[in-house]
Every structure is written in C-alpha cells, then in structure tokens.
Symmetry: C2
Subunit: 525 residues, 2 copies
C-alpha cells in the first residue's frame, strides 16, 4: 500500500484538468430524475442525497479513480486491522472497534483490544443499570436524578451533542432515566452555574480525561469536590472516572468506579467509548446506547464498499475534496433541520477541523495543497433567519450539508394554515435546497439569486439512536477518507500544544516573552 | 456626500498596491511596547487591542485615508440624523436612537421617533416593574416565575445571547427576577420541550414579530396557546406582544399588552428595543436593561470620532476590510473567553453575515469585490480543545477576535496548582494570542507553528450590563462601517425571500418544480 501526497497522484492532475474546463450546470440538471438517482444508502435507515452537488458523471468517474488510486478502502481496512495509522503519535486508531469488529481481531502484547472494549462497554452498562436499580445512591442515601459530565473537547462536544440529540426522543419513548448536564470550560462561571442548578445530593459526576492530566478538567473536578464537601456530601460516592488504565484517575478510591479507554481512541472519536457511553447509558439506559452503537457499526461496514456510489461516507468525502481543492471553497456549513441536532455542528466542527486542519503530511512533511475546510452551522429554520443571507447572496459560495427527518421525535405538533410544524420544517428544508441550487433571476439585482450553490442532504424517517449512530459514524468516516486523500494524519493534534506550553509559562510567572507579559498585564494576571 | 463603490476609490488602489508589497512582520514586531501602544478605548470600560493584527503604521495611514475618502463618519451621522440609509427598503436605520440621541431629532410626519422609542422603553420597563410587584399574575392567580420569548432570527439570537451573558452576573448581584426561556425553531420538538419544562401557570410569554406574520413564530404561538388552553389557562393573561403598530398583533385583546417597534429597527439590530428589552427587563429588572443601553449609547458616541486610532469600532471595521479584501481571508472567528458569551458568536454571525453578505451595492448594482466574511466561533477554552488545531496549523489562516475579562461574573472560584480558574482562563487567552502571532519553529514540521495568524482582543474588568451594551454596539457599528466601505446596504436581507416563496409553494401542494416535488417526496411531504 502506498501513502502518496494528493498532488502527486494521477487523479489530482486529471481532476485539476477537468476543473479547469468544468462547465456542468447543475442548476439546469437538477430535476426529479436526478434527485431520484443521486442517492446512496446509509445505515440506520438514512440516505445520502447528492443531487444538488456540482458533480457530473465525469466528475464521479474521476472521484472513483481517486478513491482507487489512493487506496482509500485498503487504508480503511488497514486501520480496522490495527495498523499504526496515527503516525505522529505512533498509535493505532480503533474507535470503530468500539462498536463492531469489521476487520481482523486486534491483538497487542497478547491482549485482544476488541475484547477489552467490549468488557468496558459491559461494565459501564452494568453500572448504569445498577444506578437505575438504586444499587448506588448519593452519600445521603437519595437516588441519583442527575448525571454531570466533567470534560472538555472530545469529552464534552460529542457526548453533549448526542445527549441533546436523543433527549426528546427518550422522553417520548419513556426511556429517560436521568437528567444530564455538562461542565467543560475552565471559566469558573460555567462550573458555578451548573453546580448551582444541579441537585447535589442526587447528582452523579462523570469525570472524563484520558490522560488524567487535562488542566481544565482537573480544575473543575476540584471545584465540584469543594462544593460537594461544603454540602456535606462524600464525593467518592458521587463520582466515577472515565480514563486510561495508566492515568492517575484509574483504580483510585476517590471514585465509585473507573471505566477505561486507551490511546487508540482519540478524544474527538471517543463518543462511542465510555466517554460518551457512560453518560448516555446513565441518561437513557444501556440499550439506547447499544442501539446507537449498532447504527454506527452498520455505517462502518457500509463504508467498506469500493464503489463510491454505494458508499455514502466515501462519496461525501470525495465530493468535499472536489469542492475544497478544485472548486476552491474554503468552508462548509452543516445545517440540520432538527433542533435536537443543535450542537451536532459544533461536534462536527471539532471532528473535521481538528482532524484535517493540517499542513504537513502523515510523515510530517509540508504539503502544498489545501486540507480541511472551516466547518460551521446552526439548525434550520433558525439559520434561515440568520446567516443564510450570505449563503444566498454573498460573494463567496459555501457548500452546504443539510440534514432532515420525516417525523419529529415527540410527535407533539400543531396544525396552522393546514400544515403541522414538522411539515413546515421540511418544506423549508426542501425549498432551501432548490433555492440554493437554482436561484432565481430578477431584473432588480438586489432580488436576484445567482443559484449554483451546492448542497447535499442526509435524510431519514426519524432521529433515533440507530440513526444518530449512523450519522456520527458517517462523518467520522468521511473525515478519515478525506485525511487519506490528503495524506495527512487525521488522528493527532499537535496544533494544540504550543498554547498549552505558553499557558504554563504564564501561570509560572516567568513567560520569557515581553508581549506575553504585556498581555498578561492588560488582563490583570 | 458621495456613495462610491469600494474599488472606485483612490484608497482601494493604494491599499492594493501596498498589499502587493506588504512585508510587515508582526511576529517580530509584537513586543511589550506594541501591546501597550496599539489600543483604542471602548465604552463600558472595555478596550480594543490590535497589537497582534497584521497592520503597520503605513497600513494605518491608508485605512485612515479610506475612512476619510469614503466619508464613513459623515455617513454614520447621516444615519443618525434619519437619512434613508436602507436604500432597498427605503427606510431609515434607527437602532442607535433606541439608546441615545447622538444626532438631530428624527421627526417624520410630525412624529418625533426618538420620543416614541423612549415612550415604549418606559412602557415595557413599567410593565416589568408591575410584573415584579405582582400586579400581573397568571390566570390562576400565581405569580410569574418564568418568561418565555417566542421569536426567531433577530427576535431570538440577540436577546438569547444577552440573557445568557448576564444571567450569572444577575444571580451574583441578586438581580435575577425571572427565569427566561426561548422558543424559536418551527421544529415542533423545540416548542414541545420548552413547554414541558416551563411551569405554565407561572409563565409569561413574549411573542415577538415585527410584521406579525413570521411563519415560524405564529406556528409556535398557536402551539403555546393550545398547551395553555389544555392546562386550563387563559392565554390572554399569559402573553404580551412585541410588534409594529400596524401589525395584526397590535392592540389585540389576545395579549396582556403590546410594545412597539417600527420599520427602522432591523431584526438583527433589535436587541436594544422591546425585542430584547422586554425579556431582559422582566428577567433582570428595568435598571439592568437601562445600564446595558447606556453602555451601548456611549459606544455609539465614541464611534463618531474621525480619528481611527480613537474609534475602536471604526478601526476594527477597517482592519477587517484590510484582511478581507487585501489579505484575502474569507472568514473570521469570534472567541470569547467567557462562558457567559456562549451564544454571542451566533448573534454576531447573524449580525455580520446577514448585514454584509451582499453581492450588490446600495443601489442594487453588482459589485466586483468581496464583502462580508463567514463568521463563526465558540467560547475559549472549549474551542482550544476543538477547532484551534486548524487555526494553528491549517492551510488557510483565519483572523481571530478574542474577548476576555479580568474578573469572572460570580467570583465563585477554586485554587488549583496555585492559581484560580479565572486566572487559568486568562492565561490561556493571552497564551493563544501570542502562540497564533509568533508561532514556534521546530525541526519536526508536525510540531512547527508558522505563526503570523492575526488576532485582536477586546478586554475589560468584568462582563457587566454596560460592558455588554458596549460590546454589542461595537460590533453593530463595526458592521455598519464595513457596509459603508463596501457601499452595500447592510440593513436589508433580500436573500431570505426566495426560500420563503418556495416554502409556500411546497406547502400549497403546487410547487411547479419537479426537483422540489422529488425532494418533498423524499421527506414524506
């Protein structure tokens, strides 16, 4: 297997040539037939529609050739089989193994890592069951009603987005067990506000730090412990840890229990591990989390297909590369027409930008082409009343990723002017796709819509746990495939280190930099 | 006064020339002296620091010349005096008049519009006082404990961001009167979840729609009324309206009272009107809202200074133009180191992208230069553990806007490793500014930070109501000045119309477009 810089491939040159003479007019081409044809199935009952993308059959051929030349599926298989894909940190990449075994068993030093993951899954599922059964209670004997996650970055964004995504569904299905809250920021106002709102006697805290040394998380842990102590509570009966087996948090009597991940689970890929699973199982019951994992596992399996027209994650990745490197769009927007997905764009922002916001290849050599785009987004219809003006009529087109569902989660709706709100929501979504694609001429240029603004749509019947697992895995795998195309390491994050080093210098009182001292003075440090 | 396309000015050509030979190395230039010198005072005790921007003394000269040639201050004064600046809709632009009278009195058909605004301010402040005094109660006689805003876009994002920004401060100061919630999305799961969580007997609803015809808001109003009815409550005792005097919601017995704005207050600029003021006065008391307005009015006054080095909003605007049109950055990130500002970037996203995401000039003629950038952001330190990887080491630099405060809002803190969390928060902030600016060489390219990534910093002692007013007005005025430079109309939003039209067609069952029908079918419409 070859790891080749993108601009050294034959496919790159062919795509560049084709882009230079690209004249596909998808505004005109977008008709019922194209909408019906340009779809790829996804796991969990979802479907990926790319009819409104600026891609014609010739472009599809080139994208398939790129996938083949860069051996994207072979590289994915190598990852599944436990190859050291995270070259910078010399680590395997095994988040897919948390939810299924698509490749060979991964054995290291005689340890079957899949078995380890499955054992931890069962342990935190059992723990959640025990909490629900009242086997564990707060130190004053009252049952737990609330679970509070303390974590930052991947220990916060993914789990929070997933919790919000399923909360209404769980309420409607009678599956909601505990309320969940999250403390992430080192800003003391964040922890203080949550600790004021949470019923401390009935709160169970999940402390999440793989290394056990995350500055923000440890500060917040002590913040929480101080509050529990002042409330006369025994924090060791109110807190579990999610960490690695070698961290100071492991097997520590300060916690009710500890659940483990390892170095092969990157923070932004950790929602499928105890990092997401512990709080989701506590909030909604273990079966909901297992259903979520099943949807993700099915998506991982479907991502093995060599045919890009049958592999939604791969196709989405390749179209994104086409847009980034040849149509030269520096950003992409994620627009879920589902309030439940309100924080899903923030999670994807981390997933994508932290994975592929790289300027060196997997061997650490500088590269000369663009990599990951800026990702942003808010739920529709809210975004329509906000930044869509620029999307429709700004000077720089932004590729769009819509997400929508036939049914709401709660089914609690009202009819106004002969339609329910869910229908209005969907009507707005489909109207936007067509408005962005086709635009509308007007003799008044201020009312003229150029159109030609590409979008894709992921749709399904309802946002269930399995659909959510499929959605999460889709984007994880999309980002992975793009990383393979760009020949970058999507699994390290060296870019966060310098800030940490300088922060420590500031806090030590000896920064060694006059500008840093001057800024510190401005802020009263 | 001349309204001239940006690329027809002498300043544009001079800036383009200078950009072509621009070699200012702010990595090296950034020292204590530059940090101390490159600051402009702001209202409410804030300060704008631009030391880490890619701007030297020659660039400042050119930016001053641009401000003078495009008559930015004269145009601002014309706006204040009531000129029809919103050319597309033929409307005055008077949001600054909501918080102070910096120009001539604005009289129209014998009506003094400033007096009208002040009268409405007093009316909703009095109403809030009456609610707090128990003069108004729910229909079962219980006092109000919760206020729920029903609105979307500017009726949601700004008020929500401001409420969250002051909630902790109000708790700490003993000024919090009512809890606030927001229903915005037409997704029925949004309204359903809020209505389940709100104590209906004790909830007061503020229905906000200037036109009284906003589809999402009217659907949610009926959703709410249905729930109130089913709970045996009289909705006319639980709801006030914020609207225009000519709307169907005005003087309507279905509401306890109505408070008015007019066509000269754009949605995204309406936080200073009853749209923001009603809910903020109810939540925190009228004086808090008046203090907020005072901070904004002071900022509006300071924005009149012709000297760009003394006018933070103007300088920020001009540096943004320099970055957008000559350094060719297509985006900008807003990074508040304050959890209270968690939704402030979403508000700025609307403010900026809806105002200046335009491709025609104020006369409706197409323009040939870039206008408003994509705006996104999340609070630090959370963002550090998310998308900062791309900001530090991605292939495309993103200009940054940091915001930070010396003190937290609650003062509830913990000492870990000899520093409180607020100090850690600030240390991270200053470390990031310097890390982005200076970078760090490393023989391993994967650990190499190129630096040269520009940022500015707005800082102050604490996020108080006056500081928040200053912050909001700063960005409103920044966006206004940029619109004047680009010669666009920053106060209309024709780009949202096409989607509305197509939505109606879909809902009518006769879309007239085969692609629209096919998409509708996919989503079960």
């Amino acid at each position: 297997m070859q790891y080749t810089n993108f601009d050294s491939t034959a496919a790159y040159r062919q795509m560049a040539d084709y882009a230079a003479r690209f004249g596909f007019d998808f505004k005109t081409a977008l008709d019922a037939e194209r909408v019906q044809q340009c779809q790829a199935p996804m796991a969990g009952g979802l479907c990926y529609s790319w009819a409104a993308k600026a891609v014609d059959s010739e472009a599809i051929k080139l994208l398939q050739a790129l996938a083949d030349e860069q051996e994207l599926i072979a590289k994915y298989k190598a990852l599944l089989d436990g190859e050291v894909i995270n070259t910078g940190e010399k680590r395997k990449v095994l988040h897919q193994l948390l939810r299924g075994e698509q490749g060979q068993p991964v054995i290291e030093d005689g340890k079957n890592i899949g078995e380890f993951y499955r054992k931890e899954l069962q342990r935190f599922c059992d723990f959640a069951g025990d909490v629900h059964a009242g086997k564990f209670k707060g130190s004053t004997g009252r049952p737990f009603s609330t679970v509070v996650q303390i974590g930052i970055g991947g220990s916060d964004l993914g789990p929070r987005a997933l919790y919000l995504a399923l909360e209404n569904w769980a309420v409607a299905e009678g599956k909601k067990k505990l309320d969940a809250k999250f403390i992430s920021n080192v800003d003391p106002d964040d922890a203080s506000a949550i600790m004021t709102a949470a019923p401390l006697e009935q709160s169970l805290f999940v402390l999440v730090s793989k290394s056990g040394t995350t500055q923000e998380t440890l500060a917040n842990e002590l913040f929480v412990k101080e509050k529990l102590k002042r409330a006369g509570l025994d924090s060791s009966k109110h807190m579990v840890a999610v960490t690695s087996e070698t961290s100071p948090l492991a097997r520590n009597p300060a916690y009710l229990d500890s659940f483990y991940i390892d170095d092969y689970i990157g923070g932004r890929y950790s929602s499928s591990s105890a990092v997401g699973g512990c709080i989701l199982s506590l909030a909604f019951g273990p079966q909901v989390f297992k259903d979520f994992l099943s949807g993700a596992a099915e998506a991982d399996k479907m991502a093995l297909d060599m045919d890009i027209l049958k592999n939604a994650a791969l196709l989405d990745a390749l179209i994104g590369v086409w847009e980034r490197n040849f149509l030269n769009y520096p950003y992409t927007a994620v627009l879920p027409y589902s309030q439940a997905l309100s924080r899903f764009p923030a999670h994807l922002q981390q997933l994508d930008m932290e994975s592929n916001g790289k300027r060196v290849n997997r061997d650490g050599q500088p590269i000369a082409y663009n990599t990951g785009p800026v990702v942003f987004g808010e739920p529709g219809t809210n975004g329509q009343h906000s930044f869509y003006q620029l999307l429709h009529q700004g000077t720089s087109p932004v590729p769009l990723q819509f997400i929508g569902f036939t049914e709401s989660q709660k089914g609690d709706d009202v009819t106004v002017d002969r339609s329910v709100s869910q229908t209005k929501l969907k009507a707005n979504l489909v109207a936007q796709i067509v408005a962005f694609a086709k635009g509308q001429s007007d003799s008044n240029p201020n009312k003229d819509f150029p159109g030609g603004r590409p979008s894709s749509l992921i749709y399904g019947k309802q946002l269930t746990p399995a659909a959510l697992g499929s959605l999460l895995a889709h984007f994880e795998n999309k980002v992975m495939f793009q990383g393979f195309v760009w020949n970058v390491n999507s699994f390290d994050q060296e870019g966060v280190q310098l800030g940490k080093i300088l922060t420590k210098k500031v806090l030590s009182g000896d920064s060694g930099d006059s500008a840093l001292d001057a800024y510190s003075k401005l802020l009263g440090i």
